[in-house]
Symmetry: D2
Subunit: 166 residues, 4 copies
């Protein structure tokens, strides 16, 4: 159930291969009668990180919606390594990889304030037309923005991608 913290405390909380992170705190509503955060809450935190990533790098998810696109979730995976509890401070690292046609993938690493890695995972997405929900190519401006962000960490992201999905 428990893994040893493998990260050194650092000011920026930057994790190798990740250029972005956002912080959430475990809400009481996130917990369940086991006294720990419910497994579905992690998917919400992944989403919060995606939204913040797109805000920082691509004008925001609402900008995408305003232009008639939505991003559907095709697949989600989460590995729960250490239970988290009410009031824990979590740094959700996110990166966007494998952008091709209508598809792209986000990978996540959740690190608690004490540097314990508490979860990792990924979500696979399709860009769709907001009206029909049919797949449509990721718009060029968004693809370019994402590629620009992730180009610096491309090699580490690829190796991690194969690790997580194997």
């Amino acid at each position: 159930m428990h893994v040893k913290p493998v990260l050194r405390p650092c000011e920026t909380r930057r994790v190798e291969g990740y250029t972005f992170s956002t912080t959430v705190r475990v809400r009481f509503a996130d917990t369940d009668a086991q006294g720990i955060a419910h497994n579905a809450s992690y998917l919400v935190w992944f989403e919060v990180a995606r939204v913040e990533y797109l805000r920082e790098h691509a004008g925001g998810y609402q900008a995408l919606r305003d232009r008639g696109f939505e991003a559907l979730v095709l697949e989600s995976f989460c590995r729960y390594l250490v239970p988290t509890r009410f009031d824990d401070v979590l740094h959700v690292h996110a990166r966007c990889v494998d952008l091709r046609g209508a598809r792209f993938r986000f990978e996540y690493l959740i690190v608690r304030d004490d540097d314990a890695i508490v979860a990792d995972g990924w979500t696979q997405h399709a860009c769709v037309d907001a009206g029909t929900l049919r797949p449509t190519r990721v718009p060029d401006w968004l693809g370019a923005a994402i590629r620009s962000v992730e180009s610096s960490s491309a090699s580490s992201s690829q190796s991690s991608s194969s690790r997580l999905s194997s």
Copy 2:
């Protein structure tokens, strides 16, 4: 915290003044680290009861949406009388009262399988145009359907309404 069960066990679970009830079971995801159902879950159960009420009596909430209406929640009130726990079976009684113009109110009484009254409350609504979210008169067919259902229990509902909102 605890009230004595005041209802007699009965097959139909009909409660005075209520013509309708639906059943939910407390999900693990509904609970929190106090080991009991989270306070926000009750508003979701109220909604489940509203939806089932409209299904039984008025062609369903989706029928309302299909005709270009939505029902917004203007106010919600819940009184938590007895904590409920994972796997509890709850009978959510609902009735629609005070239908006037664009406005109407639902009242609820949640009774556990052992006949303990675990919560009551109400939600105040406005019928709105789905596009603009502006108030619009409740359509005649819906008003007629609701009045027909509730006419039999009108007197008891009025007295309860004043009790709850005082």
Copy 3:
């Protein structure tokens, strides 16, 4: 449905009668198929504000739990004044009033970043023994901390309290 913003933009977002506020952003998971935040999400935001209030003023809710207390929610009320949408930034103002014996009440005012008042409400609580969930007097250290915070805004809170519950 819509009220005019009555607050002037200001740096501190301090609202008359409230000494505390915290900020949440409407998550995509908070929204529903009406395109607006779901009514139950507001109770979660109220809780986030309570938790942050207790962190700032009374050593945190976890400190209360660590000493064998829980705070149950006895009643909740929310008035939804303006629909809120994905990505809206909300300032949740909170204050603790009517502390007597085991009971206390939190009042809330939710103000959007554009100064629209989008919701207000309150939650009534009982301090309970964590093991038995039976009411127990609010510990002196907590009562003293809360009274100290709220003494400056006592008069305005009382008038607001009667307004909200009438």
Copy 4:
């Protein structure tokens, strides 16, 4: 985004390889501003199916908790094949596979009332001591109950398991 329904309408909704299913209806609170069920809701429906499975076959999850065990979620995976909407009726098929030591896995297939396969996925679990959250061997009575249920569909479950996790 869309797969053709591959199942024939049938009264029992039994799907090859699955001995158990339970039914949920998409709640309004499950939907998001895309007008479809939120991705995290599927993990809650998986949980509802697990709980009902254990009720039918092993005395219920609460029985497990009453004896001092909890089942933690170690991993979750969901593949979203067809968007589901408010009021959709979903049959959540579940089976328990790969029971070894403290570990076991649930697999799921969600079929809508019109026989469209809308999602599949799995959750990996560890049986833990409720007090310490440390892994502990699945109790013999539970292991025996699960093996008895699943022995009839063992071959199909294995092939599906490799498909889903590849």
